[in-house]
């Protein structure tokens, strides 16, 4: 397999077809002298699961942050369902992340003092859903994710795998268009990681959301529909063709 880092060619005109949920075009980002992204084009389709792989410092997390509106790229553009998000102000991007995106991180994302069900309900409450309704909706996620009876437990009383499943429920509860997962199994053993990825992919797909997973782990990536590899800020694609 030819794995040369290449700058991708421009996407064809149908790039932002309705089937494309999230589109990053010619994304560049520098930190001082370091080029984190050197002009990346990437398209995520509806209900598609995409793994972003690469060694440490390759720029994969920066790419995820730019796509998620956490970070503004220095150049290029990011669109969600045809709407530019890189030009939005922080407040708008923050609201977008809350309502249209879901996040699963490696660990430390659950509020330790809230019971699991309230951790899950929090995004709904932030969106203005009344508390009782938010908690009721949150509870619906527990049984499908194998968390039955865990509703009132606090994060400190959950295992790592259970905590990640609660995080998955929280990421999906507000019915996002895209779920971003940054090393979601990084703190888990292989078996728990396997189960967690299965649940993440299945639940995301079942919910009609797209999934972007940043990972080092080929096993994790194998759960996704396709994998893109980042190296030195550029996408590395089989045969030297950008995805």
């Amino acid at each position: 397999m030819d794995s040369r880092p290449i700058r991708q060619a421009r996407h064809p005109a149908n790039l932002e077809a309705m089937n494309d949920v999230l589109v990053g075009r010619a994304l560049t980002k520098r930190f001082g002298q370091t080029v984190a992204l050197g002009g990346v084009d990437i398209t995520i389709g509806a209900a598609e699961a995409v793994a972003i792989m690469g060694p440490s410092g390759s720029g994969k997390s920066t790419l995820l942050h730019c796509l998620a509106g956490i970070m503004k790229p220095d150049g290029g553009e990011v669109s969600l369902l045809g709407r530019r998000i890189d030009t939005m102000r922080e407040r708008e991007r923050s609201a977008l992340r809350r309502t249209r995106f879901g996040f699963v991180f490696q660990f430390g994302q659950l509020l330790p003092e809230l019971p699991a069900e309230e951790n899950v309900a929090l995004p709904l409450m932030l969106g203005g859903v009344p508390r009782t309704q938010a908690v009721r909706q949150a509870r619906e996620w527990f049984a499908p994710l194998g968390l039955h009876t865990m509703e009132t437990r606090r994060p400190g009383e959950l295992s790592g795998g259970q905590a990640q499943r609660v995080a998955i429920a929280r990421a999906l509860v507000s019915r996002p268009a895209v779920v971003f997962a940054d090393e979601p199994t990084g703190a888990l053993d292989q078996r728990t990681g396997h189960d967690t990825m299965r649940l993440l992919v299945e639940a995301t797909r079942h919910n009609g959301a797209s999934l972007i997973v940043v990972t080092h782990d080929q096993n994790v990536a194998s759960w996704c529909d396709r994998t893109v590899e980042v190296r030195d800020g550029l996408l590395l694609v089989p045969g030297g063709v950008g995805a």
Partner: protein
């Protein structure tokens, strides 16, 4: 080696690590400074009591060298302490030197304190100076209880009427002549009462301060626990970890204690300006002596070190213990039962025993309040979380349930002091004084001489050009009262002229108005109010410092969670509102509630009128205090913004 490694870890902790150390240092500095104040104020009152003791004669069984009497005179709304002295034997009396004077005054000689001498020069002679003509000297500071005190020492012959007459009609207005072997005297009952009240106020301040000071070691605890757990994982023994923790806590605490002591020394001149019991303070009075200072400087770091060790238990037990956050055990109701038990035993403990036992009982009660406090905070948290409709309320409520001790540390002082402040704050001293009636000067005289004394009074007043009606009213005790009515329109200057004219009318007795007679009771109430305001201010200072420092350290401890929430789109305002509610809800319920209950309980006593000045002072104190707490919490907002701006948050 441990110390060296500890120092290197402390220095190399990075910007946020150092910020954690600075927060601990700041907390220790604030609590040390306020602790020094709470301790020093006791020594200050003791110093006052000792300096004023010479005016409170102790009758000698044998070996008397002088006769001493003490009484109070008045000018305007100020009190003059008058000490009448007569040497019995010039040679023997040579050694009985009154404080602030080189010798006993000769008969007819008058010595004045600097403030009285100045006032006598300033006012027309017929209002004051003629009462103490031709002063022979100025009293030194050793003779004075406080810097601006008005004191006159009047010399007499041993057989002078002032030295042989019976005492004043009211024991509170002076002490009758007594033969004394020296001029050491004994602290007055008033000064002892002030010392007792001060002790109570100190306990009120010390308990929250010790809790706050001890908690300083646990600030940014998560960060330190991670580091120490990492050290355990690489093979550090529990002993090494404990030693390093103690060393780190003590190094920082010692620096904080020294900073706090320096801050207190710098603030001492300001504190000396607080008027209590008639006047402000000598700066030397409010500075603690070397022993109390050393005790505080050694005690605070020790307490912080001890607290750090207690907080370390989990790390020492298991290196992995801190890798996962554990659910803290729920507050047990037994804490409240302990408080009820002590409250039930309190009347028994305090019945007829010494002030020391009362203070210990009070301290015990406050400690139990401190035990019950977190339980109540936890209850408030559960109610807040249960009734919350918005995320900020939910987060605040759950956080209160999660760590009620932290919130209690912030509000405990205000909750403890609030009731007294509310009760005393609105009471009007004038409601207890006989205001409203036309001023009249009263002096008691033996019934047989009363008419003659009244006649002399009329002559003197006529000579002084003061229009007054003098009459004699009988009393059952055998004494009569000579009453000089000055009319409704008599101004303070006229009253002072009448006082001057009537000086010496009855030797050893001072003509007084009803307001003069009640002045000491109203002064005591005003002083209790001032003291309460001071204690409430200290409590709010603790609350402000605690709120600011706890908020910042909590951000550092939870920065990863905050940052991830922020990345997931949680508005900064929600996190900020939650942090604010976390402090304000218990402060409002417990502190504000205590103040309101105090005000409510004081209502039956406000029939005579409410003190507007007191209400304004209390209101200002509460507004500034609450504002300060909110402001202190808001100071850490840039820190919250900074840690949540990190796109790749990781634990330290």
């Amino acid at each position: 080696m441990n110390l060296d490694l500890t120092w290197r870890l402390l220095k190399g902790g990075g910007r946020r690590g150092l910020l954690g150390a600075w927060l601990t240092l700041g907390a220790v500095a604030v609590s040390t400074a306020l602790l020094l104040f709470a301790v020093a104020v006791n020594f200050a009152f003791a110093a006052r009591a000792d300096r004023g003791a010479w005016r409170n004669p102790v009758p000698a069984e044998a070996g008397a060298v002088a006769i001493e009497a003490a009484r109070f005179d008045f000018v305007g709304d100020q009190v003059i302490t008058v000490v009448d002295l007569a040497a019995l034997d010039a040679r023997a009396a040579a050694g009985a030197r009154p404080p602030g004077m080189p010798r006993l005054p000769a008969p007819g000689e008058v010595w004045l304190s600097p403030a009285l001498a100045e006032l006598a020069r300033k006012l027309p002679a017929d209002q004051l100076a003629e009462r103490y003509p031709d002063p022979a000297g100025v009293l030194g500071d050793e003779a004075l209880v406080y810097p601006g005190e008005l004191v006159a020492v009047v010399g007499h012959a041993p057989d002078a009427p002032a030295m042989t007459a019976a005492g004043t009609r009211d024991g509170a207005l002076g002490k009758g002549p007594a033969k004394v072997a020296d001029l050491t005297g004994t602290p007055s009952e008033d000064s002892e009462a002030y010392r007792a009240l001060t002790l109570v106020a100190s306990v009120l301040m010390v308990v929250p301060l010790l809790v706050f000071g001890g908690a300083a070691a646990r600030l940014t605890v998560a960060r330190r626990d991670w580091r120490l757990a990492a050290l355990r994982l690489v093979g550090a023994t529990p002993g090494q970890v404990v030693r390093m923790t103690v060393a780190e806590a003590v190094i920082v605490a010692l620096a904080g204690a020294l900073l706090g002591a320096a801050a207190y020394a710098a603030a001492a001149p300001l504190l000396a300006g607080i008027p209590i019991a008639g006047g402000s303070w000598f700066v030397s009075d409010v500075l603690p002596g070397p022993l109390p200072l050393a005790a505080v400087l050694a005690g605070v770091p020790l307490l912080v070190g001890l607290s750090a060790v207690v907080g370390l238990r989990r790390v020492v037990v298991s290196p992995l213990g801190v890798a996962k956050r554990e659910t803290p055990p729920a507050m047990r109701f037994v804490r409240v039962l302990a408080l009820f038990a002590v409250l039930a035993a309190f009347p028994l403990l305090t019945r007829g025993t010494s002030i020391g036992i009362v203070a210990v009982a009070l301290g015990l009660a406050f400690l139990c309040v401190n035990l019950a406090g977190p339980w109540v905070v936890s209850l408030i948290g559960r109610i807040t979380a249960g009734s919350a409709r918005r995320p900020a309320g939910l987060l605040a409520g759950r956080r209160l349930v999660d760590d009620p001790r932290s919130a209690w540390r912030t509000v405990s002082g205000v909750a403890l002091t609030g009731f007294v402040a509310g009760f005393i704050g609105l009471l009007s001293p004038s409601a207890f004084a006989g205001d409203g009636e036309p001023p009249q000067l009263l002096v008691s005289a033996p019934a047989g001489q009363a008419e003659a004394v009244a006649g002399q009074a009329r002559d003197r007043l006529r000579a002084a050009g003061v229009r007054a009606t003098v009459r004699v009213s009988r009393r059952g005790t055998g004494d009569a009262l000579v009453a000089t009515a000055l009319g409704s329109y008599a101004d303070p200057a006229t009253i002072d002229r009448a006082r001057t004219a009537l000086t010496g009318l009855m030797p050893g007795r001072t003509p007084t108005t009803r307001a003069d007679d009640e002045r000491f009771a109203t002064q005591l109430l005003a002083d209790i109010r001032m003291g309460t305001t001071v204690v409430l201010s200290v409590s709010f200072l603790v609350a402000i410092a605690s709120a600011g420092i706890t908020a910042a350290s909590s951000i550092l401890d939870r920065r990863q969670t905050y940052a991830l929430l922020r990345l997931a789109g949680t508005p900064l305002e929600v996190l900020d509102r939650a942090r604010r509610a976390e402090t304000l809800v218990p402060l409002t319920v417990m502190g504000g509630g205590a103040i309101l209950v105090g005000v409510f309980c004081a209502m039956p006593f406000m029939i005579g009128g409410m003190s507007v000045a007191g209400a304004i002072t209390l209101g200002a104190c509460v507004v500034v205090g609450f504002g300060g707490v909110v402001g202190a919490g808001a100071l850490s907002r840039p820190l919250l913004r900074s840690v949540t701006a990190d796109p790749a948050p990781r634990p330290d």
